[in-house]
Symmetry: C2
Subunit: 385 residues, 2 copies
């Protein structure tokens, strides 16, 4: 049981004293005491107050020092930038947003982000030196190890741009990931979820993508592009050419742009997928039918994902997911019919009930969990002696 | 850097002295020394000989004590049982096998296994008390946490049987997993592969299944049934009913039984998939065509898996995989056409070049890596004080 693992138990509230740590881990009290001293010395934990006694001296309480630094959480969307300042527990201290097209390119967009960051730091009476980590979500594929964009279709001018370079003045780690992995990080909650939890976050918007959580951590694959389910082949009597050049990709059949086009073809008065979703929410039969059909197509791919991954739950997000029940009905119909009974038995499928804050919260969590990762904390404390 | 992690570095040969451990981990010498003392105390590591000096006193060499216990490796196949005794490095000390139908049921089969185990222990001049772990591979779905079979189609009479109960006399941990996960464990190699490695082992035999390795560990999913790709829906102009009751499962179209049936329908003189594979190896055009078509069907599912998982390599095993090139050609044709370029760029697809020993080696590795898992070693040493 390492110091990093003990910090996690304290952060999540599972342990509130040395005695709790001893009983949760089974490690000897001397080991626990030594490692707690390391955490106290690094200012990651503080002592305060007394717990209730079970006979004998009441235990000194331990708590995570969430004020030890600030986190800058940046959510870059297709048409807006959102920036928040949080503490190390992910609690929002201040937040700003601004309409801005991501296609303006990296320099102008990140200049705006840095300007908003300075406003937020001033608002809380602080400055750049207190920022311990930066988390950034972007609407495109990114090489996680370097924070570099890789041919992002919606982000013209960003290919090969290394996002961390724009935050060099903070002299702290900068973590960059695609939007759906960032939302998955947000779903993990404070301190990470259970180490045993395996779940999927599926974004159905203009594009379709999937964030994969394995063992309580976001799984990114060998080149960092795991979860790209939008370009899986979907059988269909008609041939649809996807913007990637292949035939019958899921995205070209059930993505937001495809749905808006199909709706227009059927004579519905829609200019975007959002209009279509609004019609579905109003109960218009042709809109409901289009959304439910899209759900069936997505469900076919998710059924394979369920057989492959055996997740405990699937959370749906994105503009098409906001249609709710008709989409869910289509997905569930196919997933429960086509998945292994053992895998489907306790599977939950739901639409995320979080608001628009997801991207920022996720970016904050991405930064916090990466910064306070067990191995990273252990290495830091080992290096300190 | 915990004692368990240091043991891994020593086991894999990455570190041969305390100085190596210091330079590999960046941890202070005092920390390394204390943890090496724990490993020496637990008899997991021994000191011996001197390394070459780079000026100053030559370092004392450290080595993993692979003789600290025996491992019983059991490979239960459909028609045979194979049992081996290995040391803690997975080196075979003795091995026996016997023809026996798995459908004979758990008691008779496991009685034979225990008899063979006693013969092996006698052969090396030892007894049951030296067995540190048992690893068992079975040809059916198993709940990993309990070692209990779950409706195994080929293993009549085994449903809900807890395999570890048959090895209670060894008073050591017993690890049970399905055959393809066991083969994946074998592919991981001694000490586990790189913690960054993500790969798939795909078995194409009578059934079709997939072992998933994430971050250097076998991934089992929430109910332990991850990787069941045999029942993924495959589009086809004809409808084929699978033994599971669903339509057009991959296994019902490209599995060994389906191929043997198709071959017979085309007038080939085959009684089993092995006959068909032999004809393909002899270059018979209709057999080559059937195998290549099966490769294309499997390739369609693997293309999805590549987009989802972004593995670095895929290893094919099983009776159909033994056909080699025609199967590979069909698979590669579809995978490279239908996968994301970034995911396919450095993907290797190959047929396993290991012999029939895979199942036993895998069962041994499963047991060894579970027994010497970092967290398990740390907990054991912590408990020892």
């Amino acid at each position: 049981m390492t110091a990093g693992a003990l910090l996690r138990l304290i952060r999540t509230g599972a342990a509130r004293s040395r005695a709790d740590l001893v009983s949760l881990t089974g490690a000897p009290r001397s080991t626990i005491s030594a490692r707690v001293e390391q955490l106290l010395g690094a200012n990651l934990v503080y002592e305060g107050g007394s717990g209730s006694s079970r006979g004998g001296r009441p235990p000194t309480l331990l708590a995570f020092n969430s004020t030890a630094g600030h986190v800058l959480a940046v959510d870059l969307g297709a048409t807006s930038v959102k920036v928040a300042l949080t503490d190390l527990a992910g609690t929002f201290l201040a937040a700003r947003s601004q309409e801005l097209s991501i296609a303006a390119g990296p320099e102008p967009v990140l200049q705006v982000v840095n300007g908003l960051a300075d406003e937020l730091l001033a608002e809380v009476g602080s400055d750049a030196t207190t920022v311990s980590a930066v988390g950034v979500g972007v609407p495109g594929p990114v090489e996680f190890a370097t924070g570099r964009l890789v041919h992002p279709p919606l982000m013209s001018g960003w290919h090969d741009f290394a996002v961390p370079s724009a935050f060099a003045r903070f002299t702290c780690p900068v973590y960059v990931d695609n939007d759906v992995n960032v939302i998955a990080a947000g779903e993990l909650g404070s301190g990470g979820s259970s180490r045993d939890e395996n779940f999927l976050v599926v974004k159905i918007g203009t594009g379709i993508g999937c964030g994969i959580v394995v063992g309580g951590q976001v799984y990114r694959g060998s080149q960092g592009c795991a979860g790209d389910i939008g370009h899986i082949y979907v059988p269909s009597p008609e041939v649809t050419i996807c913007r990637c050049g292949n035939e019958n990709c899921l995205e070209s059949i059930a993505g937001g742009a495809a749905l808006a086009r199909k709706a227009a073809d059927r004579g519905l008065a829609v200019h975007s997928v959002r209009d279509l979703v609004n019609l579905a929410l109003l109960g218009e039969p042709p809109a409901l039918e289009l959304v439910r059909d899209a759900g069936r197509e997505v469900g076919g791919v998710l059924a394979s994902l369920v057989n492959i991954f055996n997740p405990s739950r699937i959370v749906l997000v994105g503009s098409v997911a906001e249609a709710g029940n008709p989409l869910l009905a289509g997905i569930r119909e196919v997933v429960y019919r086509r998945s292994l009974p053992l895998a489907a038995r306790s599977l939950e499928i739901s639409v995320s009930d979080r608001g628009k804050v997801d991207g920022q919260l996720g970016a904050a969590r991405l930064a916090i969990e990466s910064l306070l990762d067990d191995d990273r904390i252990d290495a830091q404390l080992d290096a300190a002696g």
